[in-house]
């Protein structure tokens, strides 16, 4: 699997540092690592080439060579250039001064137009607008039903008329919006290939009859090199105003975002981050830059933690731990909370600097976590609360019950004792009025 860019850069520069002085060639080596990271993130090949030419011009300059931490400097330059390219400020969806505002959602099949249409309706409704959805995907079986089902959850009306073609639906949709006094029209169009002449002409005809205030291209964040070709083709035919990047709740690095920006200059206005209808957010250029580089994203981790963890339970747990009440029972509860964040390797990737701790990464894996949990679950509540009662025969029973060995059980208990020691020290520190983490994550076996 891919090692994060920071990790690679750190390794490259560690080798170089031994040489004492850095040369231009050394910096080029680092730039090469950046190149691989960008390519692995699906940034378009040509875009990578142009981008790196710019970075290299800056990186080979004195500021980096003279720096004490050239690796961090290179990363900083790369990030700067990336954020610059992506736009510093989030771009917004604009509303017409004269309602109704007409918003088209266009894109390839399966990029997520229908779901995005519903999410956008919800977002606008929350902002006090009165959206009307137009179901103009007359080709995909049950696409109209899908939009209707989603809209009914939001209590937003959908316009559709059996037998009408998409152009007619757009025209009638405007009339309907006047009749129902709705001020935003969201037109969900059928997915189409950018090289499908007939269907592209149909979109042109729609926008000719019902001009758009916003035409948003919906792009799957997992898209590879083709993103550039697709966006260019759509832009040649339609007045695109921005992009919605979908499925960012996946683990794709989303290099398509960079490619699209670089080649077309179109702003990415919105991103979708989940299956629920409220999972639509403004695009944050800085965050995307970090994600593409695989540099860890603490903000996302915090958000994820807030979403996944049971707040009451976490606070209760923290309280118990702080009061010195840290037994295997609490340890098990912690493990279960951590597990909810998803695969540990992914969680670790989000923590900056963790990339460098390659050794630790191999030790902490989900399989060992499962074994630890099995061991803990094979104990009785009494044993978890008072590990002192664990004699040889109990340990043997636990090993058998959890499908592990007595050695593994022993190792876990020993590590737990060390952990308890740390906890006591932390408690002592607290008395000394020094900062203390609220929920100290224990070291794993």
């Amino acid at each position: 699997m891919f090692d994060s860019l920071s990790e690679k850069l750190e390794a490259a520069f560690r080798r170089l540092r031994r040489k004492g002085v850095l040369s231009e060639a050394d910096v080029r080596e680092a730039v090469r690592e950046v190149r691989l990271a960008l390519l692995e993130a699906d940034v378009n090949f040509k875009v990578v080439k142009e981008f790196l030419a710019k970075v290299e011009a800056r990186a080979v300059g004195q500021e980096i060579l003279a720096s004490l931490t050239p690796d961090q400097e290179v990363v900083r330059v790369v990030r700067d250039e990336l954020s610059e390219l992506m736009g510093r400020q989030p771009a917004r969806v604009t509303m017409a001064s004269n309602p109704p505002t007409v918003i088209y959602l266009v894109g390839l099949q399966g990029s997520g137009k229908t779901t995005t249409a519903a999410k956008l309706a919800r977002m606008l409704k929350d902002q006090g607008r009165l959206p009307l959805l137009v179901a103009a995907d007359i080709y995909r079986p049950a696409a109209v039903d899908q939009l209707r089902t989603l809209a009914s959850q939001l209590d937003v009306p959908v316009y559709y008329s059996e037998g009408a073609n998409p152009v007619e639906l757009a025209v009638q949709g405007v009339a309907q919006s006047r009749k129902l006094a709705r001020d935003v029209l969201i037109i969900d169009t059928a997915g189409r290939l950018h090289i499908d002449e007939g269907l592209m002409a149909e979109l042109e005809a729609m926008e000719k009859k019902v001009p758009a205030h916003e035409t948003l291209l919906v792009v799957d964040a997992m898209t590879g090199q083709d993103a550039v070709r697709v966006t260019e083709s759509f832009r040649q035919r339609l007045p695109l105003t921005g992009v919605v990047l979908t499925k960012l709740d996946g683990d794709a690095r989303g290099g398509a975002a960079l490619s699209i920006r670089a080649v077309t200059g179109l702003p990415i206005k919105l991103i979708t981050t989940g299956e629920k209808l409220d999972a639509l957010e403004a695009f944050q250029p800085e965050r995307m830059a970090s994600r593409i580089l695989g540099m860890g994203d603490v903000l996302s981790l915090i958000e994820k933690a807030e979403l996944s963890l049971d707040r009451a339970e976490t606070e209760d747990l923290a309280k118990r731990v702080e009061s010195g009440d840290f037994s295997l029972e609490e340890f098990r509860a912690m493990l279960q909370q951590v597990k909810r964040l998803g695969p540990l390797s992914k969680v670790m990737e989000m923590i900056p600097g963790m990339g460098a701790m390659g050794k630790l990464k191999n030790q902490i894996d989900d399989k060992s976590l499962v074994r630890v949990e099995a061991i803990l679950s094979s104990m009785t509540p009494l044993e978890r609360r008072r590990p002192k009662v664990l004699d040889g025969s109990r340990r043997l029973r636990i090993a058998r019950g959890s499908g592990t060995t007595v050695q593994e059980v022993n190792r876990l208990l020993k590590q737990f004792q060390e952990m308890q020691k740390v906890m006591r020290q932390v408690k002592g520190m607290r008395k000394g009025k020094r900062g203390v983490p609220k929920l100290p994550f224990p070291p794993m076996p």
């Binding site: 049950a142 039903d145 290939l193 090289i195 799957d220 997992m222 090199q225 697709v230």
Partner: protein, 311 residues
Amino acid sequence: MPGLWERLRGGLSRTRQGLGDRIRAVFAGRQWSDELWDSLEEILYEADLGVDTVSHLLEETRTLVRQKRPKLADEVVEMLRRAMIVDLAGNDHDPWYLPPERPVVWMLVGVNGTGKTTTAGKLAAMMKARGHQVILGAADTFRAAAIEQLAIWAKRAEVPVVSQAIGADSAAVAYDTVTAAVARGMDLAIIDTAGRLHNKAQLMQELAKVHRVTGRALAGAPHEVWLVLDATTGQNGLSQAETFVKTVAVSGIVLTKLDGTAKGGVALTIARTLHLPIRWVGVGESLDDLIVFDAKAYVSAILGETQGTSE
């Protein structure tokens, strides 16, 4: 296999950039020189093969070039082509073949929006056309109107469909589908599952459960699990495949939407690293737009050639 080739060429000729002829324009009839490595590299990257596969293929080709010292650029392209075909070896199994023990159960899995439901409809229609009794199972009980969508495909294909209401337990639908297939003496049951992002542990566990419960309805089921992969997907495809393979016993790939300009090169990377065969490719929206994978034609398409291989 003229079908795939004709269709892919049809797709390619529609592009305006004339991408298709690039390899010809750059390489045909030219003397080989080291500057051409960059062009080869670019073509491979733009086909979504990814860093590891591109390095591996160029390394293989470089070794051959050092040994044989070809004069013409075409010869080098030929060496590269062979290296790619080697990576796809073992893909000549006939995916239409059904073992004698009936019913056979297939399951379709994949991330959101790759074309699972459409593929289920196409497979049902095409297996029916081959004289098999087919039943569909609407185990995507999550996405709004997915059940209706599959029902429309079932009607088009003229096959029965087993379904429950939206929000129902998808494992129960899968179980019912297999039980119905047994009771009605069907040859093939095709189970459509909900799209899910592979990094969502809970959803993957749910899929494992659907798989398990299917096996409880009929020992040995599902006999094949097809991973539906969108050809426009980049390097994330590998991460998808890795996780799905770990969760359910994936037997092969259906590469959809190959009628656009995307080359779907990540499928080769998956085939190479996970030894997962590509079985079908989807090239359109009609009932019969699903064709058996052909390694040579696919490699030609990746290399952007508009005519058949010289072999």
